[in-house]
């Protein structure tokens, strides 16, 4: 009768506000990176290598003498690009696979078996395999991670679509004589939007982690591109010599994933507390 989830609401809301603020800051960084960063993120200064944070270089410099702050700011741009790309592929493919499978059960059986097979590969391995085939590159990183999360998204979309299909209003529409396209576009897709928004925020968050892992293994975005993962990968030997080089990009990855998770969580709680188990926070990793 009365939802028993309200207890965490205040704390949850504070966290969600923080998350939303962080996401906004990151988005602003991504859009206005060239204006926000005080220096060219690629400019090399051999005489200012590995300087610790100071007034000129807020986050210090790396071993090229490049300004870490500027690189971190520019990194948000790649993070956003990868996140958006991965979400687009994961959701686009996931919706196509999932909804088609739910609406055409026979075809669905086959499609979902394909998804099953892809899901039999642990995520990073699948991404790794795809990267190795496709070669390093921003697009290929996006594609590889996108395919990984497409499988989970397809599963979720399939599940939610099946549940929607069992809803009385679909029966009602069918009883009225509604055709397949009407069912799909008017009755299923709009109702998928909020769960998909939640899924999108989680995919966005975990795309950051996967991309960072690929970069770290040296199989992600080309190393000359300033991404947080590349920055970590390049400077991991300086963990004692120049700890700021690991601290800031690492924190950025964590914060971006964290804030998106928090936002997704809050939205899910708002939408339907019972969805909790349908969306695992981590999805696949």
């Amino acid at each position: 009768m009365i939802h028993a989830r309200t207890g965490r609401r205040n704390g949850g809301r504070r966290l969600a506000v923080f998350g939303l603020a962080m996401v906004t800051v990151l988005a602003v960084c991504a859009v206005f990176a060239p204006w926000l960063s005080p220096q060219d993120p690629l400019a090399i200064d051999p005489l200012a290598r590995l300087t610790s944070p100071n007034a000129e270089h807020w986050f210090g410099t790396d071993h090229y003498g490049r300004d870490t702050f500027s690189r971190v700011v520019h990194g948000s741009r790649m993070a956003a690009l990868i996140g958006i790309g991965v979400v687009a592929i994961a959701l686009g493919g996931g919706i196509a696979f999932g909804v088609t499978s739910a609406v055409f059960p026979r075809l669905g059986l086959l499609l979902m078996r394909i998804v099953d097979v892809l899901m039999a590969f642990p995520a990073l391995l699948l991404a790794l395999a795809l990267i190795v085939i496709l070669g390093r590159g921003v697009e290929n990183s996006i594609l590889a991670i996108g395919v990984v999360y497409m499988t989970t998204t397809a599963r979720i979309v399939y599940g939610v679509s099946l549940r929607l299909k069992a809803e009385t209003w679909i029966d009602a529409a069918l009883a009225m004589g509604a055709g397949t396209s009407r069912i799909v576009f008017l009755h299923i897709l709009p109702n998928l939007m909020s769960p998909l928004f939640v899924q999108a925020s989680f995919v966005f968050a975990f795309a950051q982690l996967q991309a960072a892992s690929l970069d770290f293994l040296g199989l992600g975005v080309p190393p000359e591109t300033p991404t947080w993962g590349n920055m970590l990968s390049e400077s991991r030997v300086y963990i004692t010599r120049a700890p700021w080089l690991l601290l800031f990009p690492g924190l950025m990855i964590a914060l971006s994933a964290f804030s998106l998770n928090v936002v997704g969580d809050a939205v899910r709680d708002r939408l339907d507390p019972r969805l909790q188990t349908a969306f695992s926070a981590r999805g696949r990793s």
Partner: protein, 338 residues
């Protein structure tokens, strides 16, 4: 010619309708089993008539109504509606014919897509059947909203902004906006509180009178059926065991199951307590019905004949039909009404 023929023939004529569901096989390589949720049921409704379909959970009443609406595939039998055989006509024709057959569901919230505004929801049947233009549809929506007791402004709101009773009004508005000939209502008031239930029952009655609708009313509540329906059919385990004029069937039931049902139904009168006619409430398993008369394991009147032979429907006069070997013996003398 056409008009005459249609007037004489029943609006809905269901003959030998069977709905079967398959079950996973017991053994890995065994044949898949199936059971008949609806077993060779025949039923007809004339124009403007209201017929009640009564039974308990798992008796097949929902499967029957869903099959008539085309939501569940039919395994055998025929459904004629408005002169067309819905089981044999093409898809386009079937959609056209179905225009005159609309459905109302039990759960007033669930039958309305939460993402669509009420105006859009009500206009949906008009859109599907391509009736009128945007403007005329809009007008009809507003008219019908008023007819069901809602305000014109409600067209812009979403279903979740309404209470249960109001949502059922919306569902009814949607069902009647297209001016159908028959409404199939599957337990439309059982989820509502008694004060709202009365409002909705009154609304259905009023609309029926105004629009000359025929009604197939599926319910487990004898009081409601008694109130609303001209005729009633009682289902047990996929079969119609008794049917006839409401008063005749419910006041002097001839089938032992109907008698049990009537005796079990509580009446708001402390002087008319419920009575137990069957020895137990052992639930029937629809997937493996007993041989012979399906009711015999619970029946206080069962004889050896009942264990082996399926009773045939028998007309006991004035269209009162019962499928029981002992229907004549269980005569009016043991009438149930007080």
């Amino acid at each position: 010619m056409m008009g005459n023929a249609a007037a004489e023939a029943p609006l809905l004529d269901v003959e030998g309708l069977t709905v079967s569901y398959s079950l996973p096989s017991r053994h890995l390589l065994g044949l898949s089993r199936s059971f008949n949720a609806v077993n060779q049921v025949s039923l007809s409704i004339a124009r403007g008539e209201s017929v009640g379909l009564v039974g308990e959970t798992g008796c097949g009443k929902s499967s029957l109504s869903r099959a008539i609406c085309g939501l569940t595939p039919i395994s055998a039998g025929r459904v004629r509606f408005n002169g067309s055989d819905l089981t044999s006509v093409g898809k386009v024709e079937r959609t056209r014919v179905r225009r005159d057959l609309q459905m109302i569901f039990q759960d007033p919230g669930g039958s309305l897509n939460p993402r669509l505004r009420v105006g859009k929801l009500i206009a949906e049947p008009l859109e599907i059947h391509d009736i009128g233009n945007r403007k005329s549809r809009r007008r009809r929506v507003l008219d019908i909203l008023e007819a069901v007791g809602l305000a014109a402004g409600d067209a812009e709101r979403y279903p979740h902004e309404f209470s249960g009773g109001q949502r059922q009004r919306i569902a009814i508005a949607r069902a009647v906006v297209i001016k159908p000939a028959l409404i199939l209502a599957d337990e439309p008031v059982s989820a509502l509180d008694v004060s709202l239930q009365a409002q909705i029952l009154n609304l259905i009655s009023a609309l029926r009178l105004k629009l000359g609708l025929a009604l197939l009313f599926v319910s487990h509540d004898l009081n409601v059926v008694r109130h609303l329906c001209d005729r009633v059919s009682v289902m047990y385990l996929g079969n119609i065991v008794e049917s006839g004029p409401t008063r005749a069937v419910l006041d002097s039931p001839r089938h032992p199951y109907t008698r049990e049902l009537v005796a079990s139904s509580p009446v708001p009168d402390p002087d008319r307590p419920i009575r137990l006619l069957a020895p137990s409430d052992d639930p029937p398993n629809p997937a493996s019905p007993p041989p012979g008369c399906r009711y015999h394991p619970r029946c206080p009147h069962a004889s050896t004949l009942c264990e082996s032979e399926v009773p045939k429907p028998e007309d006991l006069g004035s269209h009162h039909v019962a499928a029981c070997h002992h229907a004549r013996r269980l005569g009016r003398t043991e009438g149930m009404g007080t």
